[in-house]
């Protein structure tokens, strides 16, 4: 979309106006995320910039909200809960999800569309409905208010993401490779681990990142299915926001933005690697 040298003045104006408009939209997307970072270093207990902060006076900044986060037992417990629930939920959704995605990508699957629709439905059904339904069911089987209850509920919510990302990598998967492996005498299990898995691994990993963030970020279902002993970070933030307790929330938010950047970077790295590998494969 480079500006040709013969462009008329009007075209020139539009060219730059368009870029300014896009710039404003990017600003709208990013600003809310960026603004909390400086605010989390506020020396006061306010959610706004103090005059000292605007004057870049070091006295206006402090790490006290971070200190609070790292010393407050509620926040620490919530962090621990989030970090024990999310990986387990991810493990379950990824292992079941990858198997199913491999099944789904076979050439003859009866009711494929219907099965797909069911497997993706946890992403579509409004969370409040899923949460209310799961509450009574998980109570009935004695899992409400337990670690495993929350893990299973979160695993269900993460599954659509695993299915979507893994089936997407399977589309580009060259089936002659499994046949080649089989013809050389590898059993199905060995073929899977030695041939198929390494090739779809980027999809599996990005699916697991999605599943992880789904659980790590989830608040509605955990409030219903969990009890106070499973209070996660987002839950603690939700309570804090309703009560407007303290800017510690902003410190937590900043740390969570850091985590998102980390996940995004991993994903980007995978994408590049995947593109390279695809380029080499005989597709």
């Amino acid at each position: 979309m480079a500006l040709p040298t013969y462009a008329s003045p009007l075209q020139r104006i539009w060219y730059y106006t368009f870029r300014v408009i896009c710039g404003i939209i990017f600003f709208y997307l990013m600003f809310p995320i960026l603004v909390i970072i400086p605010l989390s270093f506020n020396a006061q207990d306010f959610f706004t910039f103090t005059p000292e902060m605007l004057a870049l006076d070091p006295a206006g900044f402090s790490l006290k909200h971070y200190e609070d986060f790292f010393t407050n037992s509620d926040w620490q417990q919530a962090t621990r809960n989030s970090l024990t629930i999310a990986p387990m939920a991810t493990l379950i959704s990824v292992s079941l999800g990858t198997l199913a995605a491999i099944g789904l990508s076979q050439s003859h699957v009866p009711f494929k569309r219907a099965i797909m629709a069911i497997l993706i439905s946890p992403m579509i059904v409004p969370l409040i409905i899923s949460a209310a339904g799961m509450y009574f069911f998980f109570s009935a089987i004695g899992l409400q208010g337990t670690y495993w209850g929350v893990v299973l509920a979160h695993a269900i919510l993460g599954i659509p993401f695993v299915i979507i990302t893994v089936t997407a990598t399977m589309v580009g998967f060259d089936r002659s490779l499994t046949r080649a492996a089989a013809s050389m005498g590898a059993g199905p299990v060995k073929t899977f681990f030695k041939v198929q898995l390494p090739l779809i691994l980027p999809g599996v990993i990005s699916g697991s990142l999605f599943a992880f963030i789904t659980s790590f970020d989830e608040v509605v279902v955990v409030i219903f299915v969990g009890s106070a002993a499973q209070q996660t970070l987002p839950w603690q933030m939700f309570i804090g926001l309703r009560e407007q307790i303290s800017p510690t929330i902003l410190a937590v938010a900043t740390l969570m933005v850091g985590l998102s950047i980390l996940l995004l970077a991993t994903l980007e790295m995978l994408r590049r690697r995947n593109e390279k590998m695809r380029g080499m494969s005989p597709a």
């Binding site: 024990t84 990986p87 509450y135 208010g145 390494p198 990993i205 309570i239 009560e243 307790i245």
Partner: protein, 371 residues
């Protein structure tokens, strides 16, 4: 393959964290439900920490769901899976829970400690025991705080709840509880209904309409809170001029955090708060709770709580022991809702009436709010 090693590492971490999570056994956990914020902190200081230091085998898990306690307990009982062990509720809620069979009847003299002078618990708590399931803790009031620096020039600072309806003299945003209790009474009282006719009036359709009409005058200037900590925070942030909350929360904001907030005690709504034990707890959990209750509601503990927050202890024998604030050293008595200076114009919430009418008026109130 580097990625594979990374995957193996990740799987290892998963296995470790999961193992750790499972290892946290639930053997001696006790889930206590309360109101969060400064109030729960005072309970933590006066009851939980001292108890835990003597009983290192017990773990207390706190839940801040008291505001939704009735519906949550109904759901838990319906699902046959009560995960709470002890719940802090207002008097009216304790009546509702007791009558619906969701709270356990208590033999007060058998469960609770006698006063130091030997007075039985029943006598010591006296009329505060409003139902057979209720173990009283404190007398509190719902009252108004305002920003002292936002009072318009040349105008006297507000002294009572009715200032909240006076947008002309006191412009600015307000904060009110997102439920009918208190708001309906204030609306009628400030509209000129005499004290003794408030509940009678609320029983009629016209009375309800009259209360809603009064609330309508400030509806678009009002932020509706669902957690008691919201009003002090909104006041501290300068988001509102005036807001209702429990008096102890305002005390914390004023005395402990030194915020420019004043109290408007007039028409404060007095009420009682205490514990209930959910019905149908298994033996071991019940025994754990009862042991804790006996400790947490004795004369000394109730008096101790008043060192951290300005609520009146429910035991007669605790009252003389109320002294100064634990860290600030100021006298607590003048900050109590029951202090004679604050009692002029106080209104006693009719918890019996609210137990009867709460479900009905809740439905109307929420519909009104959403419109």
């Amino acid at each position: 393959m580097k990625l594979k090693t990374a995957m193996m590492g990740a799987a290892g971490i998963v296995a470790l964290t999961a193992g750790g999570a499972v290892a946290q056994d639930m053997a001696n956990e006790m889930t206590i439900v309360s109101w969060g914020g400064a109030y729960q902190a005072s309970q933590d200081n006066a009851y939980f920490q001292p108890y835990l230091s003597d009983h290192s085998d017990v773990t207390i898990i706190t839940d801040e769901s008291s505001a939704d306690a009735v519906a949550r307990l109904r759901a838990m009982t319906e699902a046959n899976n009560v995960t709470w062990d002890l719940v802090d509720v207002e008097a009216a809620d304790s009546l509702r829970l007791c009558d619906e069979g969701l709270a356990m009847p208590i033999d007060h003299d058998a469960v609770l400690a006698a006063a130091p002078d030997g007075t039985s618990a029943t006598e010591d708590f006296g009329p505060m025991i409003v139902s057979e399931c209720f173990i009283p803790q404190i007398v509190f009031s719902t009252t108004f705080g305002y920003r002292t620096d936002m009072v318009p020039e040349g105008v006297d600072a507000p002294t009572d709840a009715c200032a909240v309806f006076d947008l002309e003299t006191y412009p600015g945003r307000r904060a009110l509880n997102r439920r009918p209790v208190g708001n309906m009474e204030w609306a009628l009282l400030c509209d000129g209904v005499p004290y003794e006719e408030v509940y009678e009036t609320l029983e009629t359709e016209e009375g309800l309409e009259r209360a809603f009409a009064m609330l309508d005058t400030i509806k678009d200037q009002t932020i509706w809170w669902s957690a008691a900590a919201e009003t002090p925070q909104l006041l501290a942030d300068g988001e509102i001029f005036m807001g209702s909350t429990y008096n102890g929360r305002l005390f914390s904001a004023i005395a402990e955090q030194d915020q420019p907030i004043g109290m408007a005690w007039g028409y404060q709504m007095l009420d009682i708060d205490g514990w209930i034990v959910p019905a149908g707890l298994p033996e071991d959990r019940l025994a754990r709770v009862m042991a804790f209750l006996n400790f947490a509601t004795d004369t000394q503990r109730l008096a101790d709580q008043a060192k951290y927050i300005s609520y009146g202890p429910a035991r007669a024998s605790s009252a003389p022991m109320v002294g100064t604030h634990e860290t600030l050293g100021i006298e607590m008595a003048p900050h109590m809702p029951t202090d004679p200076a604050n009692m002029t114009g106080a209104f006693v919430t009719n918890y019996l009436w609210w137990a009867d009418y709460r479900d009905e008026i809740d439905a109307r109130f929420q519909a009104w709010l959403a419109q």
